[in-house]
């Protein structure tokens, strides 16, 4: 009840005391109008992408109407086959899955030790991880990272990109520490008493209990890897066949007939948005809970 009043402020405060009924209505109308306009503006680019992906090249070129005259589903086939999106999608999937799995494993192991045990240098380690999230020197790190991958002979594969993505695991690390805290220590101890070793306890007892945490953290790691642009851009510059969706799509702008292929670009954009969108619809709650949780914790 109180909250209901609280929300009226944007539109109808002040009036509500004099003419409670009409003030309330006007306030609600203004509020809903605001909410709807915001929602439309939020969806507008996505709807334009969708509608553009179904237009012909000529329709796209001249601007014109909001909706395609006749939906061209063939655009998707063309983007998939000719514009090489099949290849890009596999590359993106490979990078994202491997980076997610790697990030989760590396961060979970570290977080487990940090949460459960004391060891010399622990605070140094945690401080370093925390500062990795805050120091930002921009693209300059790409060069030494690239040189390192050349030395390891990993620059001709996507493993270089994957390793670099995994190396940025500090936010996952802190997220997982929160989840570890929720698992009672008695469980480890009980398992140890039963003769289970440290490693076995971690993989057999603790990790399964961490599944929800891993799911949520994985979702974020996956989103990050899937959407990453500059890192794969630089690493695949000499190997166009390794390009991910984001890079391939952006490079389409320079294709030999890019100006006539905006419709394919839009179809490609839809293809690259779709997997994340599906994940979002399935796991909407966790996205929201964790984003929200990051300020509470």
């Amino acid at each position: 009840m109180n909250k209901q009043l609280l929300i009226q402020q944007p539109g109808g405060r002040g009036k509500s005391t004099a003419r409670p009924f009409s003030g309330r209505t006007v306030g609600r109308a203004v509020m809903w109008l605001f909410l709807l306009i915001t929602a439309i503006l939020t969806l507008f680019p996505l709807l334009m992408t969708l509608s553009g992906s179904l237009k012909t090249g000529a329709e796209m070129m001249t601007g014109g109407s909001l909706l395609p005259a006749k939906p061209q589903f063939v655009n998707y086939v063309e983007a998939w086959k000719q514009a090489n999106f099949a290849r890009y999608t596999w590359n993106s999937a490979f990078v994202s899955v491997m980076a997610t799995a790697g990030t989760l494993l590396v961060a979970a192991m570290a977080a487990y030790v940090v949460d459960r045990r004391h060891f010399p240098g622990k605070s140094l380690y945690v401080t370093t991880q925390a500062s990795m999230m805050f120091i930002s020197v921009g693209a300059i790190v790409l060069r030494p990272q690239f040189d390192l991958m050349v030395a390891l002979n990993l620059n001709t594969t996507l493993w270089g990109v994957i390793l670099i993505l995994i190396s940025a695991h500090s936010s996952t690390f802190f997220m997982l520490i929160g989840f570890f805290k929720a698992i009672p220590r008695e469980l480890d101890e009980a398992a140890m008493v039963d003769g289970s070793g440290f490693i076995r306890t971690f993989f057999r007892v603790i990790l399964p209990l961490l599944t929800p945490g891993l799911g949520v953290a994985g979702l974020f790691a996956f989103r990050h890897a899937w959407n990453e642009y500059i890192l794969p851009l630089v690493f695949t510059m000499t190997n166009p066949q390794l390009q991910t969706l984001t890079v391939g799509l952006a490079n389409l702008r320079y294709g030999s007939s890019a100006a006539m292929q905006i419709h394919l670009m839009m179809a490609g954009a839809c293809l690259s948005i779709l997997p994340m969108l599906l994940a979002y619809i399935v796991a909407n709650k966790s996205f929201i809970q964790v984003t929200a949780g990051s300020v509470k914790g």
Binding site: K3, L6, A39, P45, M266, A269, A292
Partner: protein, 299 residues
């Protein structure tokens, strides 16, 4: 004794992947930068030690300082639009209104989409000659002539709009989390005391939200200073450098793109610029941190 060594071994085993990766790909690049910022190194041949020359060049590099100014405009514009808008949405959605979950889902959606992909889309819909934004505005008779969204006058506004579009949902959610942690009985007792809605907002909601808001704003400042991916794809810093932000300028020093000023790869000078940008962002964050703590004490 054996037991202790075993524990240490286990610790090392579990921590080493993280430590090795962080050291090699997180810390080593920083050290690399700290070394090469004293060198003249264009990416080929032998690096030449030049002492502080790169920093002298930095001091008189008008393009860099222009990009710093643009970064402030960009970040400031983004924050001024994003924070109030997301707070407002959060306050509204905090009441259990019908369809609230759906709306929240919609507003949050942009945060899951790749900045690169949506920037390519935005470039096409903001085009002045065939972009959908102008088409729609003209159909609604809000404008009579196409607006040159990517021209020198509006390009900055356009990239800010794109940034706001991508950020509002995220901060809305963070504010929402803060709002939901405010105990309900505070409002109830205030209502009994006869405080009206406005009063309750100013004297309960805002102060109670302050700790969360402080952190949210901090995150927002860092994120808005760091962002350059979407600018790179929409305007490449142009026209005439109007949207050149410092991290984009840095990128161009390392990987010269076809457009814009730096025309040759300069790793040594780039390292100096990288260091300077990190210091600038660090200083602003630190300053904000100090100021917000002072404000807290005043309360």
């Amino acid at each position: 004794m054996h037991f202790k060594w075993k524990r240490l071994g286990e610790n090392a085993l579990f921590l080493s992947p993280s430590i090795i990766l962080t050291a090699a790909l997180g810390i080593y690049p920083l050290l690399w930068m700290l070394r090469y910022m004293f060198y003249d190194y264009a990416g080929y041949g032998d690096p030449l030690f030049v002492g502080l020359d790169n920093f002298r060049l930095l001091m008189r590099d008008g393009l860099f300082w222009e990009s710093v100014g643009n970064t402030f405009i960009y970040a400031g514009g983004k924050l001024l639009l994003t924070l109030p808008l997301s707070l407002l949405l959060a306050v509204i959605l905090n009441s259990k209104l019908r369809g609230g979950n759906l709306l929240r889902g919609i507003y949050f959606m942009p945060t899951i989409i790749s900045t690169a992909v949506i920037s390519v889309v935005f470039y096409n819909i903001f085009n002045s000659y065939n972009g959908m934004v102008n088409t729609v505005l003209m159909k609604l008779h809000l404008i009579s002539q196409p607006i040159d969204w990517l021209g020198p006058k509006y390009a900055m506004l356009t990239v800010i709009i794109v940034a706001v579009w991508g950020a509002v949902g995220n901060y809305m959610l963070l504010f929402l989390a803060g709002l939901q942690s405010i105990p309900q009985d505070l409002y109830e007792s205030a209502a009994i005391d006869g405080a009206n809605a406005a009063r309750r907002f100013w004297s309960i909601t805002l102060p109670m939200l302050a700790p969360v808001a402080q952190m949210v704003i901090m995150l927002a400042i860092i994120a808005s200073l760091k962002g350059y991916e979407s600018i790179m794809l929409i305007t490449e810093g142009g026209p005439i450098g109007k949207t050149e932000v410092m991290y984009l300028y840095l990128y161009k020093l390392l990987f010269p793109v076809s457009t814009g000023s730096p025309v040759e790869q300069q790793l040594g000078y780039g390292s100096a610029v990288g260091f300077a940008t990190a210091v600038i962002v660090g200083a602003i964050t630190g300053l904000y941190f100090l100021l917000s703590r002072k404000m807290n004490k005043l309360y």
